[in-house]
Symmetry: C2
Subunit: 148 residues, 2 copies
Amino acid sequence: MAPKLDDDTLGAWRAFINAHDRVTRRINRDLAGAGLPELSWYDVLWSLRRAPDRRLRVNELADAVVLSRTGLVRLVDRIESAGLVRREPVPADRRGAYVVLDDAGEQMLRRMWPVYAQGIDSYFGQALGASPARARKLFERIADAAGP
Amino acid sequence: MAPKLDDDTLGAWRAFINAHDRVTRRINRDLAGAGLPELSWYDVLWSLRRAPDRRLRVNELADAVVLSRTGLVRLVDRIESAGLVRREPVPADRRGAYVVLDDAGEQMLRRMWPVYAQGIDSYFGQALGASPARARKLFERIADAAGP
DNA sequence: AAAGATTGAATTATCAATCTTG
DNA sequence: CAAGATTGATAATTCAATCTTT
């Protein structure tokens, strides 16, 4: 039942939780300090810009973002109120809705990126050491191990 | 201003966010499925048990847990309502309050541990590969880089 | 005035139920 | 009935303001 976890695995776990909390908090603080919206907004805008025709179905977006489907609907409401995205009907399927990136959303993305990138670099990237690729593989293995 | 982030660092960052979300979600789901409280409760109870005399000041506890001071006060309220901890006055300093682990809290800790440990092992530990110690150091470097 | 802790009000996240279309 | 999306109710997190003691 209770697998024997060695000290390093347990220590790694606690450090992992801690690292995530600190890094995201600092980045969000930096963004707020610059009068910009938080991380989750960036994730939504960024996912949309990468998508063909700058649009995604609500469900697709929910998969791309760290949030429940319901949570995403609420988040899109707020971002739409801010005029950064809009909803559009889906031609073939009248149940669905596209979320489409607006120009103001693209501008916001550009304003946020310097602050965000700086945060990733100084609070996270620097600590990865000589081989970011190795760290990347490690994180991807963890994400895969935890499944969808 | 915008540092050049290489693809691996950025990929590592996205995988990191993703991994954290998936692992904590799964563990919390497993706990809920077993009729047990969520992760943050465990953190509080565990911190108290390690502490001398099974008690910590509210501020000390807030440092040990991934939560703001206010958030911790609310969390302790709930855990106290569940009868797992109690507040006690601090002899020398009448401003302060100890949070003390109750026997029911220790029992809860023991009930939660198998589920929690299993989750850490299968969703996280397995992916660390041959050297958990190396992973641990990496996570600790990140936590340090992001400061307190 | 500052430290320790708490509360009120506002924001956000989540579950279950709902509505609409396929 | 199932899929896509949304809403209502509930719970949790946070900021600023507050209260008490040092």
